[in-house]
């Protein structure tokens, strides 16, 4: 996986490089708008971490340019501007995620992993999270290379959770995916979740409930 970091603060740039390299990636760091622009035009990257306040230009322009070219490389915006307007503007321009400074490296790593998974899926149409994998083409889910024989709805549930793995999948999203837009009982979803939980027992993965919000597929805390 090849990552591009565009960040003008040398301290942050260095720690980003150090934190992201162990994830099995090559990390290119650029501190200026002009260099970054050139790199983006020539290279193929799996993920771009973009700081908005660059000394010689605005990161948002770079993002807009990238998307105008039809490049769908995932972009994670880093910025000290915490205002919701800046955030919405970034996401509107086609950023995939947004992290306000200061951030913890653990959170950054989690988001990068999630985005890389999405990037991977773009390439080979496969979703993976730890020992769990789902091939969207054939519709086959595997756990530790063993095929999981799942009924249709559980398979859909697994796919949705995998798509958002590491972050919360909203309850409404799951219900729509499983039952369509019709009215469903409040605990219908819970039934399928608990079935899936049993399947994942002992795999090192778990599904955590966020009351009223949704579910998250995550690695079991040590």
């Amino acid at each position: 996986m090849r990552l591009l970091v565009i960040e003008d603060d040398p301290l942050i740039a260095r720690s980003l490089e150090q934190a992201l390299t162990p994830l099995g990636n090559t990390v290119d760091v650029f501190t200026h708008y002009a260099q970054a622009r050139e790199a983006l035009q020539s290279g193929q990257f799996d993920l771009v971490l973009l700081d908005l306040g660059l000394p010689d230009g605005n990161g948002l322009t770079l993002l807009a340019e990238l998307r105008q070219r039809g490049d769908t490389t995932p972009v994670l915006i880093l910025t000290a501007r915490d205002g919701i307007e800046a955030r919405v503007e970034g996401l509107d321009l086609g950023a995939d995620d947004y992290l306000a400074k200061p951030f913890s490296l653990a959170e950054l790593e989690a988001r990068v992993r999630a985005l890389l998974r999405r990037s991977q899926q773009r390439v080979d149409n496969r979703l993976t999270f730890g020992p769990l994998a789902f091939d969207a083409g054939s519709g086959v889910a595997t756990l530790n290379e063993t095929v999981l024989d799942l009924p249709r709805r559980e398979l859909r549930l697994l796919e949705s959770l995998l798509l958002h793995a590491g972050s919360i999948t909203p309850r409404e999203t799951l219900e729509n995916r499983l039952f369509g837009f019709g009215d469903v009982g409040s605990n219908a979803l819970e039934v399928y979740i608990s079935r899936l939980r049993k399947r994942l027992d002992g795999s090192g993965l778990r599904i955590r409930t966020f009351r009223g919000l949704g579910y998250r597929l995550e690695e079991e805390a040590s």
């Binding site: 919701i84 200061p102 913890s104 959170e107 919360i168 909203p170 966020f210 009223g212 919000l213």
Partner: protein, 467 residues
């Protein structure tokens, strides 16, 4: 935005010009007619004098009038101007005894003259004439038939006199208007002098000089001067508050930074990796606290010193609550806690407000709950609809707060008697500011399960109400 709309001078000038010209027209018309009357009176008496002179020259011979027109009479008639004159002496039958022009005195005129002397205007060969006729009765012992004496002249003498008189009137009027204009300009300069002095004083002020004004102004300007003064007072207060806040803030920031400095300094002196690790851990924690403090100070400053109230809009509190809780549940700091949302009312609930401030409000409350409760605590957010208000609440099952401390929790830098946590004590002060901005109420009370329950009561918007 200052828009310049003409000058006071031009406004006054317009008023002056309008009134003066209206009055002036009336005055001049009147002056013209009175000049005409004066000229008429003067020349009519000349006609009368000429007629009398002729009358004295009339002799009677054998009952017939005989007249030798005296040259003095012609002199009187002729005036200084190129005047044509007319005279006629008629006997009782209307036959001309003596005369120079055949002006054709009609019998009707003769009848009028026989009763009293008469002035007439007539036109002859395209020229205006002024005629005077009178009848002369013989005053002797021998009764004679009366004779009529007619005299007249053209109008150029009269016209010239009228013109001269009128010209004088016009000249006087123009001189008066010019004098009035000059006086007005002078008066305006004098009257506006206090305004100029005030402007000068304001211009010379330093940007940060907020002292009250010291100026002598007329009654009409008192209100403006007082308004300026109160503006200065408000600015002074605002500036003082800002300075106080900046001092507070830098003090707040200096403390953790000093900690960072000493910790790292000690670690650099040491050779033991264990000490380094220990110091780094402390530095990491302190850096996190400091940056949180910085962002809290920023939002507090933004709330307190917002010059213009940013636009409020109609916000669906339910989706805002959902969004914010969802956002916080994802965050790293929340992973040790069980954050959740109680079932919400299905319909959107609208309140009037600023979305960023409301997010900040909920975020601070969640952040507080996370920081002041032990790991594993259950934090629940929810909403309840009342008749007039919408209640948003957050409750936890942590240790709670004693009733005495509940009262002054919202003061800045107050930490509910706890010095053990990482908080700055700014969270509830921010919350308090936002609550007041939204005309809402906040109630902090003990929750049923023993923790804290913060209730925010917002005025409800009915579905159609737009403020």
């Amino acid at each position: 935005m200052i828009e310049v709309e003409g000058t006071l001078k031009s406004r006054l000038a317009v008023w002056l010009v309008v009134t003066v010209s209206a009055l002036g027209v009336l005055l001049l018309v009147e002056a013209y007619f009175s000049a005409q009357r004066a000229a008429e009176r003067a020349y009519d008496s000349q006609l009368e004098a000429a007629a009398l002179t002729i009358a004295e020259a009339i002799q009677w011979e054998k009952g017939q009038p005989v007249v030798e027109i005296p040259s003095a009479a012609l002199q009187i008639l002729a005036t200084r101007h190129q005047e044509r004159v007319f005279y006629a002496v008629l006997d009782a039958d209307g036959h001309t005894v003596s005369g120079n022009l055949d002006l054709g005195i009609s019998p009707d005129w003769r009848r009028r003259v026989s009763s009293q002397p008469t002035w007439l205007n007539d036109s002859y060969h395209g020229t205006q004439w002024r005629l005077y006729g009178r009848e002369l009765d013989s005053a002797g012992w021998e009764t004679q038939d009366p004779v009529q004496i007619w005299v007249g002249h053209t109008m150029s003498g009269r016209d010239a006199l009228t013109e001269a008189l009128f010209e004088h009137a016009v000249t006087r009027f123009v001189v008066m208007v010019l004098l009035a204009g000059i006086l007005m300009l002078l008066a305006m300069r004098v009257a506006l002098a206090p305004m100029r002095r005030l402007r000068h004083q304001l211009r010379q002020r330093d940007a940060d000089d907020m002292r009250p004004l010291e100026a002598r102004v007329p009654e009409e300007m008192r209100e403006m001067a007082e308004t300026l003064d109160s503006l200065f007072t408000r600015q002074r207060e605002g500036r003082e508050a800002l300075l106080r806040f900046t001092a507070d803030a830098s003090h707040q920031l200096k403390t953790p930074l000093a900690g960072l400095q000493t910790t790292s300094e000690l670690a650099l002196k040491s050779d033991s990796p264990d000490a380094w690790r220990q110091a780094l851990t402390e530095v990491h924690g302190s850096a996190g606290r400091t940056s949180r403090l910085a962002s809290q100070l920023l939002s507090l400053a933004r709330l307190r010193h917002a010059v213009e109230a940013s636009a409020t809009s109609r916000i669906d509190a339910m989706s805002l609550l959902h969004e914010t809780t969802f956002d916080w549940a994802q965050r790293d700091v929340s992973q040790a806690h069980d954050i959740g949302l109680a079932p919400l009312p299905a319909a959107p609930q609208y309140i009037q407000g600023e979305a960023w401030a409301l997010r900040e409000l909920l975020g601070n409350l969640i952040d507080n709950a996370l920081r002041y409760t032990p790991p594993g605590s259950v934090i629940t957010l929810g909403a309840v609809c009342h008749a007039q208000t919408l209640e948003l609440y957050i409750e936890d099952d942590g240790p709670g707060v004693s009733p005495e401390t509940l009262e002054h929790l919202h003061r800045p830098f107050e930490r509910g008697g706890r010095q053990d946590t990482e908080g700055s004590g700014l969270g509830l002060a921010i919350v308090d500011s936002i609550v007041r901005r939204h005309e809402a109420r906040m109630q902090v009370e003990s929750a049923e399960k023993g923790g804290l329950r913060v209730r925010l009561l917002f005025p409800c918007l009915t579905r159609h109400e737009e403020r």
